[in-house]
């Protein structure tokens, strides 16, 4: 028997209107955005505040801040002069030495990991490179100044004696400084320290070489090395350039290890065995005893260093990204 009861209209589920949590959602997403923006804020603040602090020195010295090689914070008479050319020179020279030595080694390691290493060895080799990155730079500096530099003096002396008759070479490899703390030693330590990052990026780049191109090279009767030069390098060139630039940025910014082994002398000379100084190193060496304008000048150095490393890092990241896009497009 079907008795008809009054049909109740089924309640329609509300699909509109705010249920609990919308405000929480918005709050949360804004909060995470804020923390992300913190990165941009800090970078901007660094630039603004340090530049402001250093402004009096910039105003006073003008362009001579970077073009003059006279750095005299406490002159016997008159106003202090802050010309940082010697330090810029030292930064550039030690970084170049680091690249010359460190990049071939890094690319070699990356090639080893992607082409030569048997699978079982690969993990341990990667771990070794990671361990190199884990050693704090101050420990490298300590070892550099107390262990490496004294040993290197003998090697420098030997090299100097060997090339003494050769013009040109004997100015680059001139008389070594007694302590061994020199551009060359700093460059060597920096080379060790940039190996992890250059190796890591190079490895990523090399491993994206399409197997099809490798097969094609082998099918033409190429040896392993010929395959690498024919298929892997052309594909990876852009990315490797980016890796090198990142290594350069790291070398330029390295502070502590360099300051312990570069010598601490305000010096512009082609002799790589002589002592010198770098921008980051001079800041850390002289900051403690500085006051007033001197401090402002050191901060100004920091501004210049900041600007240089940001530009190089940015350019490097863009180069790597563009190389990635280009080879992806080519592979399709």
């Amino acid at each position: 028997m079907t008795t008809r009861t009054t049909q109740e209209k089924p309640t329609r589920p509300a699909l509109t209107g705010k249920s609990g949590g919308v405000r929480g959602e918005r709050l949360f997403s804004w909060w995470t955005l804020a923390t992300g923006l913190l990165v941009l804020a800090i970078l901007a603040l660094i630039l603004i505040t340090t530049a402001k602090q250093a402004w009096p020195v910039f105003q006073d010295m003008g362009l001579r801040f970077v073009t003059s090689s006279i750095w005299d914070p406490n002159p016997a008479s008159g106003n202090p002069v802050f010309g940082s050319l010697a330090f810029i020179y030292g930064t550039v020279v030690s970084s170049l030495i680091a690249l010359l030595i460190g990049v071939p080694i890094s690319i070699g390691i990356a090639l080893f990991l992607t082409e030569l290493a048997p699978r079982r060895l690969r993990g341990s080799a990667i771990m070794l490179v990671d361990m190199l990155a884990a050693i704090p730079s101050v420990v490298f500096g300590l070892w550099g100044v107390l262990v490496l530099a004294p040993l290197l003096v003998h090697i420098y002396q030997w090299i100097h004696d060997v090339v003494a008759p050769v013009p040109g070479l004997n100015t680059i490899f001139g008389e070594p400084i007694g302590t061994g703390r020199s551009f060359m030693t700093a460059g060597l330590i920096l080379a060790i320290m940039i190996i992890p990052i250059v190796t890591s990026i190079s490895r990523e780049v090399l491993s994206t070489t399409p197997q099809a191109n490798k097969d094609a090279a082998f099918a033409l009767g190429a040896t392993h090395w010929e395959m690498i030069t024919g298929a892997v390098f052309p594909h990876s060139f852009g990315g490797l350039v980016g890796a090198v630039m990142l290594g350069l940025g790291r070398a330029m910014g390295e502070t502590i290890a360099v300051s312990l082994v570069i010598g601490g002398a305000t010096n512009i000379t082609p002799n790589v065995f002589a002592g010198g100084n770098s921008m980051a190193a001079v800041i850390v060496q002289q900051f403690g005893e500085s006051t007033g304008t001197f401090t402002a000048a050191l901060i100004g150095l920091g501004v210049v260093l900041f600007a240089m490393t940001v530009v190089i890092n940015l350019a490097a990241r863009l180069v790597v990204r563009r190389a990635e896009i280009r080879v992806q497009g080519a592979a399709t």
Binding site: A212, A216, F218, A219, L220, G221, G230
Partner: protein, 307 residues
């Protein structure tokens, strides 16, 4: 300029120059004469029994413990196109790669049986795979030019193999041989990626013939191309067979019927442990495979009942 399609210089020192048919500027799709007619011409030549350039005897290829292809017996005859057909996953490409030791690049791959080239077992101890690949070249399924210019793609193989002769001439010869010269002669230094798919594949063929191999292996060379490019490359194959020996793996039965002289049919079998593997079922002159095959599985495949 020597024409790559003449077999050596005529004795009187004069040079014949004839533009190879496939290098005509106007691309046209033309249909080859029926397979049977071609065969008749070739069967004449075969009366003098020439030993096969390559021969597989009881060849099996394993990956680790898994025997993927078993007991293959196959002759590869000189100046002929041998096609390998059959459904996917039956070992055709595996056997092809065994012919130039490309399987060596896959860890765990092992080849048993003998693969001979002019009587020498190419897997014998003391044989250098690099030398093997110099004489037995390969063209792959997807065109894979190097990220270099057209010129450098061809020059690469020439440079590493130290081939004598002026580089420019060699490059031109190779491109002419691949029916690509007229289309690219003005842009040799531009990137290979600027070419169309069909042109890139012809570039890969040019790259392979530049190092003067004797045998050219082709692994489904047209499967990534449009019909017009496919037709051009099939024409090219016929011309190339006059000089080289060609082995082609193809999924396209009609293609095998059009271009090849001999055809090998592979299919899958299941052994007593329920493991599926590939096996060569039948090998014969192409027209016989397609008109009167001996094995019923071959017949089922070529008549389209499966596969």
């Amino acid at each position: 300029m020597p024409d790559p399609f003449t077999r050596g210089a005529p004795a009187d020192g004069s040079r014949e120059t004839q533009a190879p048919a496939a290098a005509q500027a106007v691309p046209e799709v033309h249909f080859a004469p029926p397979a049977t007619a071609l065969r008749a011409q070739d069967n004449e030549r075969r009366k003098e029994s020439v030993p096969p350039v390559m021969e597989l005897r009881d060849v099996s290829v394993s990956y680790g413990d898994f025997k993927a292809v078993r007991d293959t017996n196959l002759p590869i005859d000189h100046n002929r196109i041998t096609a390998m057909i059959g459904p996917s996953g039956c070992g055709k490409s595996t056997i092809l790669r065994a012919l130039n030791r490309m399987n060596d690049l896959i860890p765990g791959a092992r080849v048993s049986g003998t693969v001979t080239y002019h009587g020498q077992d190419i897997y014998a101890a003391g044989v250098d795979p690099i030398q093997v690949r110099r004489h037995i070249g390969m063209v792959f399924q997807k065109p894979n030019p190097f990220p270099k210019s057209i010129y450098d793609n061809i020059a690469y193989g020439l440079r590493i193999n130290g081939i004598k002769g002026k580089l420019d001439d060699q490059v031109e010869q190779a491109l002419t041989g691949a029916a690509l010269w007229d289309e690219v002669k003005d842009k040799l230094k531009t990137s290979a990626f600027a070419l169309s798919g069909g042109q890139q594949q012809r570039l890969c063929i040019a790259r392979a013939i530049a190092v003067q191999p004797e045998v050219i292996l082709m692994d489904e060379p047209c499967s990534a191309l449009d019909p017009i490019s496919t037709a051009k490359i099939e024409d090219l194959m016929r011309e190339l067979a006059k000089i080289y020996t060609i082995v082609i793996v193809t999924h396209n039965m009609q293609q095998a019927a059009r271009v090849s002289h001999s055809t090998a049919f592979f299919t899958a079998e299941v052994d007593d442990r329920q493991v599926r593997y590939g096996r060569l079922i039948e090998f014969d002159e192409t027209d016989r495979i397609f008109t009167n095959p001996s094995d019923e599985r071959t017949e089922a495949y070529v008549t389209g009942r499966f596969g």
